[in-house]
Amino acid sequence: MNPEMPLARGFSPVLAGATAGRVLTQLRHDPRTIAMMVAVPTVLMILLRYVVANSLLLNRVAPEYIGVFPFVIMFIVAAITTQRERARGTLERLMAMPLGKLDLLAGYGIAFGLVACVQVTLVLVVSLTWLGVTLPGSAVPMAVVAVLDAILGMASGLFASAFARTEFQAVQFMPAFVLPQALLCGLVVPRDQMTDVLRWLSDVLPLSYAVDAMQRITAAASWTSAISADIAIILAFTVAALVGGALTLRRQTS
């Protein structure tokens, strides 16, 4: 009935930066959450190292998990943070102020992106040194893919939170959205061994391309166009989730 406000009314780098600063300051006041966000993927990798025990197998699976853990953690953190903005009324207050939706989304993207960089750096350094994971080439492609996965997780969490009425529901989106992807992305069973229907399903889920990219990086010493294609798909999913997030951030409710 009522014309919805346009998707974005311009974009202000100052307001996006202020929002990122605000989100990071909130985290700074909550050291336990920072510690969990940064350390949990690394702790899980250490655990994986001892579960797998076989160094050949570890070399194959560790990179796949490096792509998945940051995604999962960022998803849940972003989903809950956004749900809290809604529940506390701060989102409504901001929507009544001169803040663009893009400013808000970009602010979250910058803040969680920075946290993702720290998270991925730690997990890579520990994996490649102490845990003895070896790569055929440089660690940079892996770091790039892992950070992009983390940002994809954040964008998906932001989008998913629009469908959660309560924080309790937002928490449950983790298993509901993420676990099916974890089962279908090639971690458990290689995607080319799945039946057609499962294969099609895995083709439309973003995490599959994260695992694909990691597999290609461990298989070849140099960058290939197939890795670029995987990254392009991950970026496309991220943009789609952010646009979905912007569309579900309503300035007006009916």
């Binding site: 009935m1 009522n2 009314r9 100052v14 307001l15 202020a18 929002t19 600063g21 605000r22 300051t25 909130q26 006041h29 909550d30 506390r88 009324g89 701060t90 409504e92 207050r93 901001l94 929507m95 009544a96 102020m97 001169p98 803040l99 300035r251 007006q252 409710t253 009916s254």
Partner: protein, 254 residues
């Protein structure tokens, strides 16, 4: 319905015509036509659930309208140019409990367009005005109920708005703080701001320059307190409200 009674020479700050809001099939605002006089404290009084909050959300542009028009300073309610000129405080404080008072005010001030020196001055003036001195470095999480309510108001006052929409700002507060807040509201009106203050507590009605009595999505009266007493012949405003709500009087009195 009655039209506005500006009372002085300036036109109305807010002007509503045939405003209808339906939420989930329920008629919440039922064909409201009204005006808000400038430089006054207008009380929006009525029982819980009568539509006060919905009306206020319409005025700041976060509630979709089913029919009718509402203008604020001559622009459609919620227009981007209004967002820094209209201060809005919801019933819940709608601030970040995991930030300090200073950090909250700095972020919201930046969103409202304040920068550098003018931001610092606005924060200092607002802290002083709401008697929050010495609390700047404390996490809002640790504040008392009365302090929290004042932080919510502080954000609304920060950019010295021309219009303040305050949803039950004094409900549940101690008598001394309530008296101080009402004198603050009148001080702001004396400085030229217009205020719309809602309450379901009738003994606050006498503190307003002008009253909007509301019940079940309709206005029962729109006049200064003295005029309402005169017209109804009631001894106090609570009795006047009951007299105006006469068809449902027994139900209200039980």
């Amino acid at each position: 319905m009655r039209s506005a009674e500006p009372g002085d020479n300036a036109g109305p700050v807010i002007s509503g015509r045939g405003l209808i809001v339906r939420r989930g099939g329920r008629l919440v605002l039922d064909d409201l036509t009204f005006g808000l006089a400038p430089g006054r404290v207008t009380g929006l009084l009525g029982p819980s659930g009568c539509g006060k909050t919905t009306l206020m959300r319409v005025l700041v542009g976060v509630q979709a309208i089913t029919a009718g028009t509402v203008t604020v300073f001559g622009l459609p309610a919620g227009h981007p140019r209004l967002r820094a000129r209209v201060g809005y405080a919801t019933q819940a404080p709608a601030i970040y409990p995991d930030l300090t008072l200073d950090e909250n005010l700095k972020y919201f001030g930046t969103v409202l367009g304040l920068r550098g020196r003018s931001l610092e001055e606005a924060i200092a003036a607002t802290i002083d005005r709401l008697d929050l001195g010495g609390l700047g470095k404390r996490l809002v999480d640790t504040f008392s109920g009365g302090q929290l309510a004042r932080v919510g108001l502080a954000v609304a006052l920060l950019a010295r708005p021309d219009l303040l929409i305050l949803d039950e700002p004094t409900v549940g507060l101690d008598p001394v703080l309530r008296r101080d807040l009402w004198s603050l509201f009148h001080g702001l009106a004396a400085d030229g701001a217009s205020l719309l203050v809602s309450s379901h507590v009738m003994d606050e009605a006498a503190r307003c320059d002008n009253l909007l009595f509301m019940r079940e999505g309709r206005f029962l009266a729109e006049a200064p307190p003295a005029r309402i007493l005169e017209q109804t012949g009631a001894p106090d405003l609570e009795s006047a409200f009951l007299a105006l709500a006469a068809p449902a009087r027994q139900e209200v009195q039980r």
